[in-house]
């Protein structure tokens, strides 16, 4: 009997970035390709459900109607909101999906058509997660899941690959990445030097996400509420540092990078509470040199690595 071993590496423009899937398995090339198609299908569906821009997405429907009546959403949207609420409670609001009005005000998101003006005092606490996948807002609010949906989409793609019997994979959505059971080298881009990267080592069974503190300068305008968003052009900020979180899944890594970037030193204990590891890269090291090992900090964490079949 003939045994197959196929490897594949693809990339597609999704979630406003490039979603790269690399996979290797004892499958025929056609079966492996089919599995990655299914994984991209999952990402595409999450994109359609959670896009702030698509008028028919769950997020757009919530922003239009959830203050008036409970809105039934897809189970996946409800799940992301439920996970988001946990990060919001743990960080006392440093992570908050109701920051969309700020992003609209700053021009990072378009004004949602036909949505009522948001209550300026609305926070994550106005979101009520009801049974039967229904969601209600106590007051008008605009939510954006940009700080968490990318990580969730990476996790969903990984789950599809595993369902197809693939254990050796990497899914990378523009820097939010998850590694399967085979140790793979993972790098973090140096915020001081975009052409350089730091090697985290060979990781397995973990997710890694990085956010730049691109909006630190805006903190004064909105104390404690400034979110982290990728600038539209996607160019790494050169004079601000970055935050990397290594966690068990990409949704946790994705959300916690935002918690740390806005929450300061206290947020490091939150990262630890979620069983994650934190890595800060300063924008400029001593004497203006790029970030060095001396400038890095990391709380205790478990970083699983394990052997893999050849």
């Amino acid at each position: 009997m003939r045994s197959f071993r196929a490897s594949l590496r693809r990339a597609k423009p999704l979630l406003g970035t490039f979603v790269e899937i690399e996979a290797s398995a004892a499958l025929s090339p056609a079966a492996l390709l089919g599995a990655t198609e299914a994984a991209y299908g999952a990402v595409r569906e999450i994109h359609a459900l959670m896009s702030f821009h698509e008028p028919g997405s769950d997020v757009s429907r919530l922003n239009r109607y959830a203050h008036a009546n409970p809105v039934t959403v897809d189970r996946r949207t409800w799940t992301v909101l439920e996970r988001a609420a946990r990060f919001s409670r743990a960080s006392a609001g440093a992570f908050d999906v109701t920051v969309a009005p700020h992003l609209v005000a700053w021009g990072f998101l378009p004004r949602p058509p036909n949505a009522p003006p948001p209550d300026p005092l609305a926070t994550y606490e106005v979101i009520e997660l009801l049974d039967d996948d229904r969601v209600r807002f106590r007051v008008p609010a605009w939510i954006d899941l940009g700080g968490i949906a990318k990580g969730y989409a990476v996790d969903a793609a990984c789950a599809v690959l595993r369902d197809h019997g693939i254990l050796d994979y990497i899914v990378n959505a523009g820097g939010d990445l998850a590694v399967g059971e085979c140790p793979s080298p993972v790098h973090v881009r140096d915020p001081a030097n975009p052409q350089s990267s730091f090697c985290l080592g060979r990781l397995a069974g973990v997710a890694v996400a990085t956010s730049g503190a691109y909006f630190a300068a805006r903190e004064a305008a909105c104390p404690g509420r400034h979110p982290i968003v990728e600038p539209a052009d996607g160019v790494p900020a050169r004079d601000l540092g970055s935050v990397t979180v290594i966690a068990a899944d990409a949704i946790t890594a994705d959300a916690l990078t935002k918690v740390v970037a806005v929450g300061g030193a206290a947020s490091e204990s939150i990262v630890t509470a979620f069983g994650a590891t934190l890595l800060r890269l300063p924008a400029v090291g001593p004497a203006g040199r790029p970030a060095s090992r001396a400038g890095l900090s990391a709380p205790p964490a478990r970083l699983p690595t394990q052997a893999c079949d050849a």
Binding site: R10, N193, P194, C199, L200, A209, P236, S292
Partner: protein, 173 residues
């Protein structure tokens, strides 16, 4: 991963300079077979005349810097476009499949190249690699890849697709 008492330490070879980051994904043939399985694709390159170029610019709202486009016609009536877009630091080759009814079938990235000046600023970087490879064999292209924090925008590709769809509108159905 070096862990000691649960703390994360970066490997000594911390700053790894990758002046030109390049990745190749599916081949053109693989993308064609993926988007139009079992079909025959016939090369049908397009050269826009000046009037067509202006039409495409008006319809897409984007500049059309060149007039030659690589296009294939599928036996079903669909189209396959091969195009490249240039960003601030990147050159991206991608494929667009269009259904016979004129809707977008799929977009696939085929090649991604990133360059910050294209020069190897730190001449020692390659040596560091070689030293590391003694204990942990590295394949250059394969190991400089899983980069977290590579905040890439797909806007240029989205624009490119819009431009190709405006060109597609000029083609026979």
């Amino acid at each position: 991963m070096n862990t000691h008492n649960g703390w994360l330490w970066l490997l000594p070879v911390a700053a790894l300079t990758t002046p030109a980051y390049a990745t190749t994904y599916l081949t053109v043939e693989q993308a064609q077979q993926l988007m139009f399985p079992g079909q025959t694709l016939t090369s049908a390159p397009i050269k826009l005349d000046e009037a067509q170029r202006l039409t495409v610019e008006r319809a897409s709202g984007l500049a059309v810097p060149h007039t030659d486009f690589a296009v294939w016609r599928a036996s079903s009536g669909g189209y396959f476009f091969l195009d490249a877009v240039i960003g601030k630091h990147e050159l991206i080759t991608y494929a667009l499949g269009v259904n016979p009814d004129g809707t977008i079938k799929d977009v696939e990235i085929l090649d991604y190249r990133e360059s910050y000046g294209g020069e190897i600023r730190n001449a020692g970087w390659r040596t560091q690699f070689v030293q590391k490879s003694a204990a942990d064999p590295l394949k250059l292209d394969q190991d400089i890849r899983n980069i977290s924090g590579a905040t890439l925008s797909s806007r240029h590709v989205t624009d490119g697709v819009r431009r190709l769809m405006a060109i597609h509108a000029l083609l026979p159905r």
